[in-house]
């Protein structure tokens, strides 16, 4: 197995090796061609971006020390000096231009669509670049702070070509690539010349343990330091076990129930939608199924995201009696039947929701949809009137609300919302823009094209020897992990 850091002669510091167990392997080492969060979670340790988010979602410097808006379509970034890639190449503005233009122009890259707004990148001088977008793009900073905006060494990359480069990739991050044993683990080692400070850990392992119970077993037997996505059932066991504990933190995923407003759908009747909202006891699901590891919400734009309406956060509506009344008033004497497509990843929660709906006289027929089929079915509009999903928001932006713009899944149409979203999309005035999104959230809460249930928390099993505070973006910045006293 991997080269255990040699501790001969020295006292073992404890920082020799940290192992993080994920349910899935990384899919690629190419940050521009990846849309899987577990992959990004690993890659952020190897590559840097111009800017990044801190644990709470604030944008902070990374390779860029300063940035400012030149005009509505131009941003200027001042770059860090004396930065070297893991192979020794110096980091310059050319690398930024190369990297951002690669992802913005190569249509075969999975992240191309996110960066298509970028028209070109101008090298002002060796340590200054300008990013120019086609249209005014208020989300540009969000885009540039995602792992997909990672900076690669232009010269080296062009010299060896993509295939060879990703066999042995280099970045400017705190850890450098060492080995990738497919479906087993990725190994990173400390990059001594990291431009911020010397990284703490000698070696980092991202192990792949797909089976939940096995991952927990690994944690319990000290096989791993951090086990991501542990089953709620095991939380108590991990906490009670000597030497391990559970760390929880909100993540960007909100469980929600889309309700079609298309003519003919049962849920087209606002009364039904309201009844559904009122019938669901969010807290019971949170407490019983998730053992508290979630926060009730009535909006998708949760705190830490641009344009969040905090009044709709950490709250929910539950009034089964009123739900029954509403249905009765609306004339549903024999009850209502709603068909719901469920992303099978959330089967357990959906089953409980079905039970709750049943209480108020709404019969829910659920159809489970395999995770891999879900996106396909969604795009082919081959889903039932109700759709039970968990939806992320990797831009940390209110623009996620555009899901319900124009021809959307729920056929929801509201001119006001349309107008607000259209404006916000290109509005470079942050305050105004935030207000626009907040207004949309209020309208949604009223009209319910979607019933938001709760924001999930990431569940991490952690070995007591380390201190680990999970992040909102579910990424592991390994250097944030320290040995506990």
């Amino acid at each position: 197995d991997p080269d255990e850091p040699s501790t001969e002669g020295e006292e073992a510091s404890g920082y020799e090796l940290i192992t993080v167990a994920n349910p899935a392997d990384i899919t690629t080492l190419d940050p521009h061609n990846n849309s899987v969060i577990t992959t990004s979670a690993v890659l952020v340790n190897m590559y840097s971006k111009l800017i990044q988010r801190d644990a709470s979602g604030e944008i902070i410097p990374d390779l860029a020390t300063n940035w400012e808006k030149v005009d509505d379509v131009t941003w200027e970034f001042e770059l860090e000096e004396d930065v070297t890639f893991h192979n020794g190449d110096a980091f310059t503005a050319e690398d930024v231009k190369f990297s951002l233009e690669r992802v913005a122009t190569d249509t075969t890259l999975q992240q191309n669509s996110t960066f298509r707004e970028i028209d070109h990148v101008e090298v002002v001088d060796e340590h200054t670049v300008r990013v120019v977008t086609g249209e005014p793009d208020p989300q540009l900073l969000s885009r540039l702070s995602t792992p997909a905006a990672s900076i690669l060494p232009a010269n080296h990359f062009e010299e060896v070509g993509a295939d060879e480069f990703f066999d042995n990739p280099v970045g400017t991050g705190p850890y450098q690539f060492s080995a990738w044993e497919r479906d087993d683990h990725v190994e990173l080692v400390k990059y001594e010349d990291y431009f911020v400070e010397e990284p703490k850990w000698e070696t980092v392992h991202f192990a792949v343990v797909p089976e939940d119970s096995t991952r927990v077993s690994e944690l319990l037997t000290d096989g791993v330091d951090v086990a991501f996505n542990i089953p709620t059932a095991d939380m108590e066991r991990i906490d009670e076990n000597e030497g391990t504990h559970v760390a929880l933190a909100p993540i960007q995923r909100v469980i929600q129930l889309w309700l079609s407003t298309e003519e003919g759908a049962t849920t087209a009747d606002p009364a039904v939608r309201e009844a559904i909202d009122l019938a669901i006891d969010n807290q019971v699901i949170i407490d019983e199924i998730l053992l508290g590891s979630a926060t009730a919400t009535r909006t998708h734009v949760t705190p830490g995201n641009f344009g969040a309406d905090e009044s709709l956060y950490d709250t929910y509506l539950y009034d089964p009696e009123r739900a029954k009344e509403i249905l009765a008033e609306a004339g549903y004497k024999d009850g209502v039947t709603v068909e719901i497509s469920v992303n099978n990843y959330y089967t357990e929660m959906a089953e409980v929701v079905v039970g709750m709906l049943d209480e108020v006289g709404i019969t829910a027929d659920i159809e489970l949809i395999e995770q891999s089929q879900f996106a396909d079915r969604l795009f082919n509009e081959d889903l039932d009137e109700g759709v039970f999903v968990g939806w992320g928001n990797d831009m940390f932006d209110g623009s996620i609300l555009e899901l319900f713009k124009e021809d959307n899944v729920t056929s929801y149409s509201n001119e006001e919302v349309e107008a607000l979203l259209d404006e916000a999309a290109y509005n470079m005035n942050e305050e105004e823009r935030a207000a626009q999104y907040q207004e949309v959230q209020q309208i949604f809460a009223e009209e319910r094209p979607v019933v938001y249930l709760f924001q999930l928390e990431g569940r991490y099993g952690v070995n007591d020897r380390i201190d680990y505070t999970p992040r909102l973006d579910e990424l592991y910045y390994v250097d944030e992990i320290t040995l506990s006293e």
């Binding site: 199924i289 409980v352 891999s372």
Partner: protein
């Protein structure tokens, strides 16, 4: 009228054969399978609770004999508070259905092609059937089912069809082999000398003589199908809720094995016991269906 008498006599013969050839294991198999089948049929009338109704506040109740157990939920409840016993009983329905129907599909295809292939052994018909069989047998059933399930979306009907349509090859091979050997037996030759047609020979002479080994293997096939379903459930591709199968129950409980063992253990036991019982039954059927194995001898003239 005469044949009616002989028919009832035959029935009686079968009855007495069953008793005569009873072995402890065979009886255990027969009785267990009967109980399961009966339970499956009368499930709606005997379940103590609605197997679908959940009560999140009652979740993870242990079986009645344990601390915190309750006599209302004899085997406890699952992770969303549904009665395990009721689900177990209901689960037998779909599990058996999957087993029976998929084997029925596979069996009919397999038997038909096997008879064809064996009877016309060596001909192009045989050759082409066998090449397809080789192709089918070269891929692990589970893999084939897996790919197919993903293509056609998981669900009860898909599952039955897919298991059925991917597992016929083994029956074809078995039947073909049997046919090839039965075909050479002298009684088939003698039927040929009588001028019997191919259909007559296949239906009257070959089929009855390959049927017993076929039935035995098909019985085991039911058990295999139940196991395949549970493996698929484990991989999240089995029968989808609200349909209940033992496999899906087992899968529901797999994250609770360390904390609430009963959720996965009872369906696991149910699968094991059923598969065992079916295996016993199959072994025993082999004996029952063999007219030669008959105890005692009334060989002599009465």
């Amino acid at each position: 009228m005469k044949h009616k008498i002989s028919f009832s006599k035959q029935l009686k013969n079968i009855g007495s054969r069953i008793l005569e050839l009873s072995t402890p294991l065979g009886m255990i198999g027969l009785i267990t399978v009967s109980i399961i089948v009966i339970l499956a049929i009368i499930a709606p009338w005997v379940v103590p609770h609605d197997p679908f109704s959940m009560d999140a506040t009652k979740r993870l109740t242990p079986p009645f004999w344990m601390d915190g157990g309750s006599s209302t939920y004899i085997l406890g409840t699952d992770h969303v508070g549904r009665d395990l016993l009721s689900r177990l009983i209901y689960g037998s329905r779909v599990s058996l259905l999957v087993g029976l129907l998929s084997v029925l599909i596979a069996g009919i295809i397999g038997l038909f092609l096997g008879l064809l292939s064996g009877y016309f052994g060596g001909s192009w018909i045989d050759q082409s059937i066998m090449r397809v069989v080789d192709a089918m047998l070269a891929i692990p059933t589970l893999l084939l089912v897996l790919v197919a399930i993903v293509v056609f979306e998981p669900g009860l009907v898909t599952l039955i069809l897919v298991i059925g349509l991917t597992s016929w090859a083994q029956y074809t091979r078995l039947v073909r082999g049997e046919v090839l050997s039965v075909k050479e037996r002298e009684f088939v030759q003698s039927a040929k000398t009588l001028g019997a047609s191919n259909t007559h020979i296949i239906s009257k002479h070959i089929l009855p003589n390959v049927l017993s080994s076929f039935i035995v293997v098909a019985t085991i096939g039911i058990a295999t199908a139940i196991m395949t379903e549970s493996s698929l459930s484990f991989l999240g591709l089995g029968v989808q809720p609200p349909d209940i199968t033992w496999g899906s129950m087992l899968n529901d409980g797999r994250n609770y094995i360390a904390t609430s063992w009963w959720i996965a253990t009872f369906p696991g036991l149910a699968i094991t016991v059923t598969v065992l019982a079916i295996t016993f039954l199959g072994d025993w059927l082999r004996d029952i269906l063999d007219p030669k194995l008959k105890k005692g001898g009334d060989d002599d003239d009465e």
